[in-house]
């Protein structure tokens, strides 16, 4: 796919950069122009030194001290101005590039924080990470040489004027060479575009495989599949290698040609200049100056090539970033704040349907209620939609149809934050931030003003003991995803986080699965005796948990099969009875079997 429009699109990205960071751009270009003009000037200075000082001195066999001082002063002044220009150019360009990167990283991550969970579910973690990092970087990659290139363009215009002022014949050589350099660069970047795009895709693939494989390292290890995984990775790495070599071939061909064009121009100038000399149309000084001009132009002219060469990558990166920025479907919030309400909250589901973004249906016509101050247990087989109900209750997702109400208000009418202040969700898989214990629990919420509240929450969640034993206590950094903690500790931390905010409704999504029965019993006991009782919606299998519930909602295949007390359901709903009495029946059955079979020879310590 030869993208003919890549240069045009790239220019638009560059123009956006200029609009957004005009200050650093101006400094950068100013520096570049100064640098360019001084560079051109330097060729004239050298030309003059040769013609006015060196030639007469060599011919006459003597030199004036004044002339030498002048020459040295001129050379040093040129150097100083060049340095000044270069510093301004590079710092301007750097400031522009880094500010743009930072600004777009913020914008992209802000979108991540605003867009609904359903949007997140449709995008891979790796993709989102690279949008905020690699793609932002790629989009603003050409900014580094951009002011230089603009400066070079200015320099070319000045050089053309200077050339014509010096001698039209030699100027025509320049007129032939410089547009050719530009054209070649454009062709180059067009030829590169599809190849570079492909390489970027392959890089992403290689990274995805590596990330996934290392993430699942334990499975790879326990199954002894290291060799097969390496083959899978190596196959992609080889594809990437081939892609990079294809890019290399083009670069390898264009680079030396583009490099040589000004040199060829220099040779032409020498020929034309000698001819002009022989007809006395030009002086030796003119020829040396123009020749030197071509030499000094050879390098900066590459800057244009660098910008053009990076445009394909920049355009791809920008388009990916722009897609995130343009993503819509933000959750709309209402104006109700539920301010001033105290005591337990009530939750209702009315005829709620929900399907995953990929279309597979999860919930059908779910109606349930958690009355204020009551505890409702949500029971159902694996994969019946319990976690989805927890997500809907906390408005992580909105239903496709039907209503979710808190205190009689549609959750969609509540303002941003009202729901978080009212309801706390503890998920099945605990998520811990790379922060201190205190930070993880308080999250700097108004509802958690001090350490007392944090400790109280830890106590209720049965986490006080292990936190107190840590050397730095609440200040202990738990590391990325809390890797310094065990699964059970992470789960208790997330429980404490939920309790610390003093929620009016607590949603526990099988949140004690990694905690031993005794620990769980202690947590549940403490919850029950809390000073600020909350309504509770708890996803549970254990009968002790269910026993705490005032009511049980039994779910199968995304539908509410029955609602009632544990005893009612046990008597009337076979599916429910089957589920909750599984362990007892198992034991009874084993006891019957045991009566016939002798226990086998066991373990000897």
């Amino acid at each position: 796919m030869a993208d003919k429009g890549v240069v045009g699109k790239g220019m638009r990205v560059l123009m956006r950069a200029v609009r957004e960071e005009p200050g650093p751009f101006a400094i950068g270009v100013g520096g570049a122009v100064l640098h360019s003009i001084v560079t051109i000037g330097s060729s004239y200075v050298l030309g003059k030194i040769v013609a006015r000082i060196a030639v007469p001195a060599i011919e006459q066999g003597r030199v004036s001290f004044g002339a030498m001082v002048l020459a040295v002063a001129a050379v040093l002044a040129v150097s100083a101005l060049k340095v000044a220009g270069m510093i301004a150019r590079r710092l301007g360009a750097g400031a522009m590039q880094f500010r743009l990167q930072a600004s777009y990283r913020r914008q992209v991550t802000r979108r991540y924080l605003r867009l609904p969970l359903s949007w997140h579910q449709k995008h891979s973690t790796g993709g989102l990470l690279s949008n905020a990092n690699a793609d932002v970087e790629a989009a603003w990659y050409p900014i580094a040489p951009f002011p230089f290139a603009v400066g070079t363009l200015v320099m070319l215009v000045v050089a053309a004027v200077a050339l014509f002022a010096t001698d039209w014949a030699m100027a025509l050589v320049g007129l032939a060479v410089f547009p050719m350099v530009f054209t070649l660069n454009v062709i180059y970047s067009r030829r590169m575009s599809p190849r570079v795009t492909r390489v970027q895709e392959l890089r992403a693939d290689v990274s995805t495989i590596a990330h996934e494989s290392f993430d699942g390292a334990l499975v790879v290890k326990t199954m002894g599949r290291e060799t097969e995984e390496t083959e899978r990775f190596a196959a992609k790495a080889d594809e990437l290698r081939d892609g990079l070599i294809r890019v290399g071939r083009i670069r390898g061909a264009f680079d030396p040609i583009i490099d040589s064009l000004p040199n060829i121009g220099t040779l032409a100038v020498l020929v034309v200049g000698t001819w002009r000399l022989s007809t006395h149309a030009a002086t030796l000084e003119d020829v040396t100056s123009v020749v030197f001009l071509f030499t000094v132009l050879a390098f900066p002219i590459r800057a244009i090539g660098w910008v053009l060469g990076e445009l394909p990558r920049s355009v791809v990166g920008w388009e990916r970033v722009a897609k995130v920025l343009a993503a819509t479907g933000d959750m709309e919030y209402g104006g109700e704040s539920l301010a001033g309400r105290t005591g337990p909250a009530a939750l209702e589901f009315e005829d709620v349907d929900y399907a995953y973004p990929d279309g597979s249906e999860v919930l059908h016509g779910v109606t349930l209620a958690v009355p204020a101050g009551k505890t409702v247990a949500l029971v159902g087989p694996t994969g019946s939609g319990k976690s989805t109900i927890a997500s809907l209750a906390t408005r992580l997702v909105d239903p496709d149809s039907g209503k979710v109400r808190v205190d009689g208000r549609d959750v969609r009418d509540l303002d941003h934050g009202a729901l978080a202040r009212t309801i706390a969700l503890v998920q099945q898989v605990p998520f811990v931030f790379d922060d201190t214990i205190r930070g993880n629990i308080s999250l700097e919420r108004d509802a958690v003003p001090g350490d007392d509240e944090v400790w109280a929450a830890l106590r209720t969640a049965q986490a006080e003991g292990f936190v107190a034993k840590l050397d730095d206590g609440l200040d202990t950094e738990v590391g990325e995803r809390g890797h310094s903690l065990s699964g059970g500790q992470r789960q208790r931390l997330t429980l404490a986080r939920a309790l610390a905010g003093g929620p009016r409704l607590l949603v526990l999504d099988d949140a004690t699965s990694a905690v031993d029965p005794r620990v769980e019993a202690a947590i549940l006991g403490a919850l029950r005796e809390s000073e600020n009782p909350a309504s509770v919606l708890v996803v549970a299998y254990r009968r002790a948990t269910i026993a705490l519930a005032d009511e049980v909602v039994y779910l199968e295949h995304g539908k509410v099969v029955a609602t009632g007390t544990h005893r009612e359901l046990l008597e009337n709903v076979p599916g429910y009875a089957n589920l909750v009495t599984a362990y007892e029946r198992e034991e009874a059955e084993r006891a019957r079997e045991g009566a016939f079979a002798d226990s086998e020879e066991g373990v000897s310590a």
């Binding site: 060196a54 340095v83 390292a217 334990l218 059970g488 373990v603």
Partner: protein, 596 residues
């Protein structure tokens, strides 16, 4: 300043790193002589024009009776021919360099990838998640970037400096000395500035790591951030990290600009010297006008690559640092290593297990297992119970040789684990961890991970045997249902079902389950336990469980408390020991499951 000192140490190791890198990727040397020869030709192209200018001016322009346009034209034509030749040489050199370096680095990528998998579980987990990925991606990209751009440039620039020096000496040894002497101090200045620069780059890399971690949290923790309404706090933390990186980047740039400026100033001083000495020499008739002019060009030819060189050294710092990180991974000896050729295979048939005086502590931590002695006969069904943190999971990891004990021996069928070949060990011994990690593929592909050759029918049969056929039938696309990234399209319990099926088709002789069904509903769990019981009969199974139903069904129960096995016997025996750890656990379990 300690950071600077560290950077100094790092810089001194650069050459060492480079040599180690070459030794690890011998492919990089293939055809090197040819590539270097082409590089010499390509570099010659740079010298063509100044020589042509000197020849043209001296013989064609200022020669007596001149100017002679035809002489100049001849010089130009010859130069053009040479230029064409050097372009061709450059092209061939580039292609060779790209091919060789990319081939070598693709090989290095694959080897580093494999090595990461060979590292012990502890080592893998001690690294940030993204870090290991960068070892086989961005770090290697930096090396390739450097070899192909900086590398070429450095090669050509080096050649150019060399040739320019030689040509300068042939024109005028006095002027050549002037150039060299003025450039001498630059070497020290640049070395000093490079050190400061290296420290700035290091800081910048640390900041980018923090920033990436922050971004990853906003994506991975999206639901928690929303549930707690802490978008603003997250934003602030993230903004701080993003700005921190931006500032670090800018600081590194400032230092790099200073280093470059020193080159430019030096070149100004150098040129002044050449003008003074050159004119004085000309006055004494030691050099001609053509020579003097050519020398001014030659000075530029010398200055440019030296300036480029300082610039490339910046890239080189980064690339070498990346290379060093890759090499450090490659140099890390896997502390839980495959004995390979020196090892033995596990004897056919059922597997027995013995722990003899086993102690274990995590690095820098207290002992988590102390003096564990236990014999598990072949074909036994063992349940391991105990409170959180009592050492159960550590026991399972030592049993499957994910870690090695600090002291003592673990033996399978009488053979120490450290002497068993991984090929044999991993095929016969399989552990199912609590976190049933799934790959972003279909259910079928995930189960096939354990045995790629099995067909669809056999796969379905495996689920049927485990009593999970109903569950598979209920999936939108049956076995071909995509499970999503990390299996997140399935519920946690469902992921565990797939992980269990995966372990089952692996057909191990010793199956270790680490709370492998903790998120599965009780009815399914009981059904699964029964099915597993039937299909694993005749094999050895060790199940870590916090649901005591598993313990009741086992032949033997091992009770862990504070890193020791405190009870060992059948459920009936242990529960009868009043006030024992197991009796309490069981009482609590009964209360949990029976209270109405």
């Amino acid at each position: 300043m300690t950071t600077v000192e560290a950077a100094v140490a790092a810089e001194q190791g650069s050459w060492h790193t480079f040599k180690r890198g070459l030794a690890l990727s011998p492919e990089l040397r293939s055809g090197l002589a040819g590539t270097l020869a082409l590089a010499v030709v390509a570099t010659a192209g740079r010298i063509v024009v100044p020589v042509a200018i000197q020849q043209g001016i001296d013989r064609g322009v200022v020669a007596d009776g001149g100017p002679y346009p035809s002489v100049v034209a001849t010089v130009a034509l010859i130069s053009l021919a040479v230029l064409t030749l050097t372009i061709a040489a450059s092209y061939m050199m580039n292609v060779r360099l790209f091919t060789v370096s990319e081939t070598a680095l693709a090989g290095l990528r694959a080897r580093a990838f494999r090595h990461v998998h060979d590292l012990s579980m502890l080592h893998q987990q001690s690294e940030r998640r993204g870090t290991l990925t960068s070892r086989v991606t961005t770090d290697i990209d930096q090396i390739s970037q450097f070899l192909q751009f900086g590398g070429i440039m450095l090669l050509i620039s080096g050649g150019q400096v060399l040739i320019a020096t030689v040509v300068m000496f042939t024109y005028s040894w006095q002027l050549a000395l002037v150039v060299l002497v003025t450039f001498m101090p630059l070497i020290w200045i640049v070395r000093f500035l490079q050190r400061r620069l290296a420290a700035a780059y290091k800081k910048s890399r640390e900041r980018v790591g923090t920033m990436l971690g922050g971004i990853a949290e906003t994506v991975v923790g999206a639901s928690v951030i929303r549930a707690y309404g802490v978008q603003e706090r997250t934003e602030e933390r993230l903004d701080g990290a993003i700005d921190g990186y931006r500032n670090a980047q800018f600081k590194a740039l400032r230092r790099s600009v200073f280093s470059f400026s020193s080159g430019e100033i030096t070149s100004g001083i150098c040129l002044s010297g050449v003008v003074i000495v050159g004119v004085l020499l000309g006055v004494d008739r030691d050099i001609s006008v053509g020579q003097f002019t050519a020398f001014l060009f030659l000075t530029t030819l010398f200055v440019q690559p030296v300036q480029m060189g300082t610039e490339i050294l910046n890239d080189a710092q980064n690339a070498i640092a990346g290379w060093r990180r890759v090499l450090d991974v490659m140099d890390t000896e896997p502390d839980v290593a495959d004995p390979g050729e020196n090892g033995t295979d596990l004897a056919a048939g059922p597997v027995s297990v013995a722990f003899e005086g086993v102690h274990f502590a995590y690095p820098g931590g207290p002992e988590v297992l102390s003096a564990v002695n236990v014999d598990i006969p072949a074909q036994a069904r063992i349940a391991v119970v105990g409170e959180t943190g009592s050492g159960k999971t550590t026991f399972a990891k030592l049993l499957t040789r994910l870690m090695d004990p600090a002291q003592g021996d673990v033996k399978l069928s009488g053979v120490p684990l450290t002497g068993l070949r991984f090929a044999s060990l991993r095929r016969r011994v399989v552990m199912v961890p609590q976190d049933g990690f799934l790959f972003d593929a279909t259910v079928a592909e995930n189960v096939r991970f354990a045995r790629p050759e099995i067909g669809d029918a056999e796969l379905y049969l495996a689920f049927t045997e485990l009593g999970l056929a109903d569950w598979v039938d209920g999936l939108p696309n049956g076995l071909d249902t995509a499970v999503g990234e990390r299996g997140e399209a399935l519920s946690v319990g469902e992921r565990q079902l797939v992980a269990l099926a995966r372990a089952y088709v692996a057909d191990p002789d010793l199956l270790v389950l680490d709370e492998a069904t903790s998120a599965v509903d009780p009815a399914t769990e009981v059904r699964l336990a029964r099915a597993l019981d039937a299909v694993t009969r005749g094999r050895t199974t060790v199940a870590i469980a916090h649901r005591l139903s598993t313990a009741e069904a086992a032949d033997r129960v091992l009770v862990f408390d504070a890193g020791r096995i405190v009870q060992n016997g059948s459920h009936a025996e242990l529960v009868a020991q009043a006030d024992s750890v197991y009796a309490k656990l069981h009482a609590s379990w009964v209360e949990q499951t029976r209270s109405n």
